[in-house]
Symmetry: C2
Subunit: 358 residues, 2 copies
């Protein structure tokens, strides 16, 4: 099977460390390796480098090539600009359908943290096998919810399939948008809801067929696009043609309208590194400890996430459960519980025409 | 009368803007002029430049001369190192007792904010007149307390003197250390307590006599000190002799042991700019507004005091009543209510041998 790492995103909720031209996936958030490097290394435990593709943008392709020296010539797909996940996956499916029509492909985000990579990799293999029997399906990885997260979409489970092995396979009953807190708690208590990880496995030609049925606009635009392999071994497309594609996520454009989705129930210590609270949750050794990168002196302070760089020192007194992200250009301070709302701040900066800080 | 601006202090509770070699009084905290410049301009509304002296340290004397171009040659007293207020005032009294024995002198801090400077200046004149009758007294400026501040010392009022004019003059019953919150509230409710501003007026020879009686160690050390006027017009003393003086405040060393203290009740909008909460209180146009110097973008945040410099941007989401002081070397974040405890942090930095940040 082929693997596609989606590395074209912007990651605005991890501002100010995640910047427009240096988004989160190319930053060393969790340790000395970047998120895209972690994703690459995770896949390489089981898959050959020649089977792993990366979808990037013109703006970050250079950085990504530098960070992934193993990346094979011909395996980098460069979007002229980021247009959300549907165009990225559609373009990759088009390339793969031509090059390796018999093989399934897995779409994998570049900004996920997975505590149990080997179980995750086994699930991808299981999905590949499932597609032998259910070739027109899309197989999703659904995460057993650890708590009532309101920042994720949920998948309601349908009938369980009699598929061998330890893995529980279900039909997808329906997709549910990010729920309010009370609703999220209900889902977790009910037991028949999983977090939508956004990771899924499918046959590329089948995805293209589904796009024709569910997203005709995208399908029409896609028809006019001819991916070309340049001398540097990168797949490129004409900017005007790519810009004509609707900027839309694969969930909205396709998944939520598809009849035959299957889902594998996964308990793999998965986190979408989407906001600073998630970073804190991954890095905190014990609840309410301080987590810091760079010089930090805490007086009577707990539960803080602190990033700074160089010789700068950050100090707090009587401050608890806050996020402090200090870069030479910008400083963010907010309670951990408000980390999701960094997107509001990014909107505010755009409104104030402060693009240079983004 | 002569005026002495005490500008040798360190101001550690305003860290990290107040640094060892750039203490708060030479920093533009409140507007584009520094605290020592504000103090100078306040006195100059009523007094001639030749009557205003400044006590500084070797470390900050250069900066102070630069910031106070009106400062007259012969009016700068340079301490080799800061030894708290008792040695500074004693040294100045020694110089003044020799140069202008007939005139009273007022000791005025360089880091006070006074909303009503003209009333304050009238009080100094009143104190000068009082000393004609009560020449052996020290006349203090006591502030009508605006709220139950726990960071100031208090003065308990004794008998009111039949002194003409609008000014209420009292004998000092006793000095009270910084009180606990409940005690402070009692003082304010009782009505016969004033904040000790640390500003007082006295005859220099009388101060020297009082030091002999109340602080014999200091008196002995002082005897060995010979202030010399150098070619640059600065009063200097030998470092070894000055270092031999006890490092002690004038309140502890002298005032609290003196029998004949008088106090003028002052309602002048006075604040000791001693910590960040005081800076916020002075600068906030309405309660709970954000106050900022430099680029600040607030989302759903109120009551914050934010300092930064250059092109750096500070942003907060859902953060209320905090202090954020960002300098190129150090960042402080703490709730406004904990601003007094910056001294704990400074202790912590010393303990960790992080002197370069002080």
């Amino acid at each position: 099977m082929k693997l596609l790492i989606l590395a074209g995103g912007a990651g605005t909720r991890l501002w100010p460390l995640s910047r427009v031209n240096q988004p989160k996936q190319v930053q060393p958030f969790l340790d000395s390796v970047t998120l895209v490097q972690q994703t690459w290394r995770r896949l390489r435990r089981r898959f050959a480098a020649r089977d792993i593709f990366v979808s990037a943008t013109k703006a970050n392709a250079g950085l990504i090539k530098k960070q992934l020296p193993e990346l094979t010539s011909g395996n980098l797909i460069v979007e002229p600009v980021a247009r959300n996940t549907a165009p990225a996956i559609a373009l990759a499916a088009k390339i793969m359908a031509a090059a390796s029509p018999e093989e399934a492909m897995a779409a994998v985000n570049s900004d996920h943290f997975i505590k149990q990579p080997d179980i995750f990799l086994r699930l991808l293999i299981t999905a590949d096998k499932l597609l032998l029997k259910h070739s027109s399906s899309i197989v999703m990885i659904g995460i057993k919810p650890a708590y009532a997260e309101t920042g994720y979409g949920y998948i309601k489970l349908g009938r369980r399939l009699p598929f061998g092995g330890k893995t529980a396979v279900y039909q997808v009953d329906k997709f549910v948008e990010k729920p309010a807190p009370a609703r999220a708690a209900q889902y977790v208590a009910a037991g028949n809801y999983l977090w939508n990880s956004g990771i899924f496995v499918f046959r590329p030609q089948e995805m293209l067929n589904l796009i024709i049925r569910t997203a005709p606009n995208l399908a029409r635009g896609l028809k006019k696009i001819k991916p070309l392999l340049n001398k540097a071994g990168e797949w490129t497309v004409k900017q005007s043609a790519f810009l004509a594609l609707p900027s839309i996520s694969i969930d909205y454009a396709v998944m939520e309208k598809v009849k035959h989705c299957l889902v594998l129930k996964a308990d793999i210590g998965w986190t979408d590194v989407g906001h600073w609270r998630a970073v804190y949750d991954i890095l905190s050794p014990v609840p309410n400890s301080n987590v810091s990168r760079g010089n930090y002196v805490a007086v009577d302070s707990t539960g803080n996430l602190v990033y700074t760089s160089g010789k700068k020192i950050v100090s707090t007194i009587g401050l608890n459960n806050c996020v402090i992200i200090d870069t030479p250009q910008a400083l963010l301070v907010c309670p951990r519980a408000r980390a999701q709302d960094v997107k509001l701040l990014v909107e505010e900066l755009k409104k104030k025409k402060l693009h240079k800080y983004l």
